[in-house]
C-alpha cells in the first residue's frame, strides 16, 4: 500500500501489567528517558541506531576514501570486495560512500519536510481549534481537500509542477503532510480550550496569543513529538517511492531512494546495489517507528485512531 501516512496512531497503551488493585502507585514519576529505558529498551536501541546514522551522515567524508560522484567506468558493477565493501555501482562509484552521502539526503528528507509540516500543521491547527467559527471551517475544509487528494498523487503532481530537485521535494512533502497534523492538533486544542486552567487564564484576561503559546502549545507537545517521530519514517518512505518513480531527488545527488531506484535494474544481476540502501531504509524506518511507538506509550498523548 501507499506507505506514506498509514501508520495507525492508535494508542498502544498496554496498561501496566494489569495490576488493577494492588497498584504500584506513589512512586517518583520517572523521566521520559528512564521510562523509555525501563519499558521500551528497543527505543533506546533505536535512538542509538539513529544517532549512528546521523554521525555517519555528518562525518561521511572522513569515513571513506572515495568521492561520492567519482565515475570510474572501468570499475562498473564490481561485487563487494575489501576495497569496496558494498561493491560499486553502474558507473563505478563506491556504494558504501554513496550510502554515507545518501544518508545525509535521506535524513534531511525525513526531518526537514516533517518539521515544516509539523510547524504549519501545529500553527494552523491551533488557530482553527482555538478561534473556531469561520476560520476553523475554512482551514479544515482546506485540510480536507489536501487529505482527500491521495498523498502520493499530490506529491507527484506538485513535484511535476515545481520540477524535481531537493528543495522542491522538501516543499512538496511539507505541503502534503501538514493537513494530518493540523487535524490532530486542532482536536487537541479544542479539548484544551475547555480545560479549567485555560478558562481561568481567559477570565484573568491573559491575551489569546499568550494563552495559545503558554498554555495550549506545551500541552500539545507530547502529541506533536510522537507525530513527528512517526512522520519521519513516513517521509523517508514517501521520498523513496517518489524516487522510485523518478520524481524525487535528482542525480547526481545521492539519496537512498534514488540508489534503490537505480539499483533495482540490477537486483538480480548485481544485488549489492539495492541491498545496502534497502537495508538502510528498512533499519532507519524501523528505528523511527519503534522510537515513535515507545514515545507514544511513555508520553501517552491523546491520539485517536483516525
Amino acid at each position: 500500500m501507499d506507505p506514506s501516512g498509514n501508520f495507525d496512531v492508535t494508542s498502544m497503551a498496554e496498561g501496566e501489567l494489569g495490576l488493577s488493585s494492588p497498584s504500584v502507585t506513589y512512586e517518583e514519576p520517572a523521566s521520559v528517558w528512564h521510562r523509555l529505558a525501563r519499558d521500551h529498551k528497543i527505543s533506546i536501541v533505536s535512538i542509538v541506531v539513529i544517532l549512528l546514522f546521523v554521525l555517519g551522515a555528518i562525518f561521511a567524508p572522513l569515513l571513506t576514501p572515495y568521492e561520492y560522484d567519482a565515475v570510474s567506468l572501468s570499475e562498473r558493477l564490481m561485487p563487494p570486495s575489501p576495497a569496496h565493501l558494498f561493491g560499486t555501482d553502474e558507473v563505478g562509484r563506491d556504494v558504501l560512500t554513496r550510502m554515507f552521502y545518501g544518508s545525509r539526503m535521506s535524513l534531511l528528507i525525513g526531518i526537514i519536510p516533517t518539521m515544516l509540516s509539523m510547524a504549519i500543521g501545529t500553527f494552523v491547527g491551533m488557530i482553527a481549534g482555538y478561534f473556531g467559527g469561520k476560520v476553523d471551517t475554512i482551514i479544515m475544509r482546506i485540510a480536507d481537500i489536501v487529505m482527500s487528494f491521495p498523498s502520493m498523487l499530490l506529491a507527484m503532481v506538485v513535484v511535476y509542477t515545481l520540477g524535481g530537485g531537493t528543495f522542491n521535494v522538501f516543499l512538496t512533502m511539507a505541503l502534503v503532510g501538514w493537513a494530518g497534523v493540523a487535524r490532530v492538533v486542532r482536536s487537541e486544542t479544542l479539548k484544551l480550550k475547555e480545560s479549567e486552567y485555560v478558562e481561568a487564564a481567559r477570565i484573568m484576561g491573559v491575551r489569546r496569543f499568550r494563552i495559545i503559546v503558554r498554555h495550549i502549545l506545551p500541552n500539545c507537545l507530547p502529541t506533536i513529538i510522537v507525530l513527528f517521530t512517526l512522520d519521519i519514517p513516513a517521509a523517508i518512505l514517501t521520498e523513496s517511492s517518489l524516487s522510485f518513480l523518478g520524481m524525487g531527488v535528482q542525480p547526481p545527488s545521492a539519496s537512498w531512494g534514488l540508489m534503490v531506484n537505480a539499483g533495482r535494474a540490477f537486483l538480480y544481476h548485481a544485488p549489492w546495489l539495492c541491498f545496502a540502501p534497502c537495508l538502510a531504509i528498512m533499519v532507519i524506518v524501523l528505528a523511527f517507528n519503534y522510537l515513535g511507538d515507545g514515545l507514544r506509550d511513555v508520553l501517552d498523548p491523546h491520539l485517536q485512531s483516525q
Binding site: 565515475v71 567506468l73 558507473v91
Partner: protein, 526 residues
C-alpha cells in the same frame, strides 16, 4: 506465510510460463504505448506503420549498408532535371479488407499528411502544390498526377537527390483511401485502420496490449508468425524478468545495462543475441549563445576532454562505434576518413587556459530530459570536471525540456538522432538547415553561409557531387567550428526466445521491427 501453500497448489496447476505460449504467436513488450497508428500524428513509435502498412519503397540492410529496395512500387524513373518521377505500382496488391491498391490510394495518403497538417509534413511538402494544399489554398496536390490505376507521377518543387529514400520513411505509409475517408477514428479504431501490410490490427487495449494478426490478402511471402502481441511493460527490469521467465519471445536489451547484458545474455544466450546497428548519432549539443560555449576553443577543449573510447568500451561494453562526424556509419555519404581530436585532458586544459579560463571558470547547465541517458550524463559531466569545466546536470521534465530546447534556451544537452531514411539530409538539414532549425535544436549555430549550403545541398541531383558537398560541410561544422560534438553510434541488441529461429531487426535499429522478419522454429509454428 499463508501464501506459500497457496502458491504450491498453483505451481501444480500451471505449467512453466513458456509452455503456455500460443503456437504461431509471438509476444514482445515495450515501455511506450503508441498514441495512434496514424502516421500523420505520430512519429516516435512505428510499430503499427511497419506492420500494418506498406510503402512504395523499403530500406533494408545489405552488407552493413542501408539500401533502398522496391516494395509497392516495382519501377520508377527520374527525369533529367530531377523534378519529375514516374512510378509503377505493383499489380494485384490488396488491402487487408480486400480492396485493391490503386494510384489514388497513394495520392490520398500523401495529401492526407498535408491536410491533417500535424506530424511528418516535411516530405510531402516538397511535392509541387504541397504548401498550397497545407494552407488550404488548393484542394488537391497539384504535383501528384494519376495516370491510371497503377501508374502515376510526382513533380517536386525543387530537385531532391534523396527523394526515393525519403519515400521509404515509415511516415510515407500507404493507407486505404475508401475506408480512411469515412473513418471516424482512423489510427485509433483497429477496424478503421486498414493497410496492405502483412498484418492487420486485431485488438488494441491501450496501455495494455496491441495484437497484430496475419493479413490473408498480403501480397508478399507468408510469414511464420501469425499473431504478434505487443504488451506495454514500462519497467525494463520487469521486461528482463518476463523474458527470463518465458513470457516474451523477443526483448530489446537497450534499456538493460550493457554490463548486465554482457554478464547474463551474452554469456548464457550468446546464440540468441541479434545485433543491429542503430543508424543514428549520439552527440553533445553546445549552445553557441552561451558566453563560454560561444568560444570555439572551449568547445574544442570539451571535445578533447570526453573519453569516447572509455564510454564505448566500458559504459557500452563495445556495443557501439565511435563517431567523428555528423552523418552516421551505414548512411549513404558517411565519411570514415574524418578524425576526431584525441582524448587529451591536458591539451584541453591548455586550450582553456589559452582562452583565459581556469579551473572552475567555465560552468554551464547540462540539461537532462527526465527519461534521458542518465549514466552517460553523469559520465560526461564527471569527465569534464577533470579539466575544470563544470557541466551541471539539471533534470527537466520532458515537456519542459522540449519547450526550452525549441526556444533555443538549453545550454547544452546530449541527444541521439535516429535516421528515418537513408540520406544525409535527414540529419544535416535537421540540425544545420537554417538558423531557425539550429535554434530549435538549441545549438544556435551562427554560420549562416554554411546553413544555406546545407539547405541547398539537398537539391543537387548528382549523387557524387551531393555527397562531396555534404562531407565538405560536415568537415566545416565538426572540425573547424566544433559546433557538433559527435560521440558514438549505438548497437541495439535483441535477444530472441527459445521459440524463435531467426530475426532481422529494422534496418535503422529501432525498437520496433517488422514482425514478418521473425521466423519461428518449426515446433512453434501454427
Amino acid at each position: 506465510m499463508l501464501v506459500a501453500p497457496l502458491c504450491g497448489l498453483l505451481a501444480q496447476g500451471c505449467a512453466s510460463q513458456a509452455d503456455r505460449a500460443k503456437r504461431g504467436s509471438v509476444v514482445t513488450a515495450s515501455a511506450t504505448e503508441m498514441s495512434t497508428m496514424d502516421m500523420a500524428h505520430n512519429d516516435s513509435v512505428y510499430w503499427a506503420q511497419l506492420n500494418i502498412f506498406d510503402r512504395l519503397f523499403e530500406t533494408r540492410m545489405v552488407d552493413g549498408q542501408a539500401t533502398v529496395v522496391n516494395s509497392l512500387c516495382t519501377d520508377y524513373r527520374r527525369s533529367e532535371d530531377g523534378l519529375t518521377y514516374d512510378f509503377t505500382l505493383r499489380e494485384g496488391v490488396l488491402f487487408s479488407n480486400g480492396d485493391p491498391l490503386t494510384s489514388s490510394d497513394v495520392c490520398y495518403s500523401f495529401s492526407r499528411l498535408l491536410t491533417e497538417a500535424a506530424a511528418n509534413t516535411e516530405i510531402p511538402l516538397q511535392i509541387k502544390g504541397g504548401e498550397a494544399l497545407m494552407k488550404k489554398e488548393a484542394d488537391r496536390l497539384e504535383g501528384f498526377r494519376i495516370k491510371d490505376n497503377t501508374h502515376f507521377s510526382i513533380v517536386l518543387e525543387a530537385p531532391n537527390g534523396g527523394f526515393i529514400a525519403e519515400l521509404s520513411s515509415p511516415a510515407m505509409s500507404i493507407v486505404n483511401e475508401r475506408v480512411t475517408r469515412t473513418a471516424k477514428n482512423f489510427g485509433k479504431e483497429p477496424t478503421e485502420t486498414i493497410g496492405s501490410g502483412p498484418y492487420y490490427a486485431a485488438e488494441w487495449v491501450p496501455n495494455d496490449h496491441f495484437t497484430l494478426r496475419y493479413n490473408e490478402h498480403y501480397w508478399g511471402e507468408e510469414p511464420t508468425v501469425k499473431e504478434a502481441v505487443r504488451r506495454i511493460i514500462p519497467d525494463a527490469s520487469t521486461q528482463d524478468l518476463m523474458f527470463q521467465n518465458g513470457e516474451m519471445d523477443i526483448i530489446s536489451l537497450s534499456e538493460i545495462d550493457s554490463l548486465i547484458v554482457q554478464r547474463s545474455y551474452k554469456t548464457e544466450r550468446a546464440s540468441q543475441i541479434v545485433h543491429n546497428q542503430q543508424i543514428g548519432m549520439t552527440f553533445v549539443a553546445l549552445n553557441e549563445t552561451n558566453r563560454f560555449l560561444k568560444d570555439v576553443r572551449v568547445r574544442k577543449a570539451i571535445c578533447m576532454a570526453i573519453d569516447v573510447n572509455d564510454i564505448v568500451h566500458n559504459l557500452m561494453c563495445d556495443d557501439g562505434m565511435r563517431q567523428n562526424g555528423i552523418i552516421p556509419t551505414g548512411i549513404w555519404g558517411h565519411n570514415d576518413k574524418l578524425e576526431g581530436p584525441p582524448f587529451d585532458p591536458d591539451g584541453a586544459r591548455a586550450l582553456l587556459a589559452e582562452a583565459g579560463y581556469h579551473d572552475g571558470d567555465v560552468s554551464f547547465e547540462l540539461a537532462l530530459s527526465s527519461n534521458g541517458p542518465q549514466l552517460l550524463y553523469e559520465t560526461v559531466s564527471n569527465q569534464l570536471s577533470k579539466i575544470g569545466v563544470k557541466a551541471n546536470i539539471k533534470v527537466y521534465d520532458k515537456a519542459a525540456f522540449m519547450e526550452k530546447r525549441l526556444a533555443g534556451e538549453v545550454e547544452s544537452f546530449i541527444g541521439t538522432w535516429f535516421m528515418d531514411y537513408n540520406d544525409p539530409a535527414n540529419i544535416m538539414a535537421v540540425f544545420f538547415g537554417s538558423p531557425e532549425r539550429s535554434k530549435g535544436r538549441s545549438i544556435c549555430y551562427p554560420n549562416v553561409d554554411i546553413m544555406q549550403r546545407v539547405s541547398a545541398a539537398k537539391h543537387i541531383v548528382d549523387d557524387e557531387r551531393r555527397k562531396k558537398e555534404y562531407q565538405d560541410l560536415e568537415r566545416k561544422i565538426v572540425i573547424e567550428d566544433r559546433a557538433w560534438i559527435p560521440l558514438y553510434e549505438g548497437t541495439r541488441l535483441f535477444c530472441t526466445g527459445d521459440r524463435v529461429e531467426s530475426f532481422t531487426p529494422f534496418w535503422a535499429g529501432y525498437e520496433d521491427f517488422c514482425v514478418k522478419d521473425v521466423v519461428l522454429k518449426k515446433e512453434a509454428r501454427a
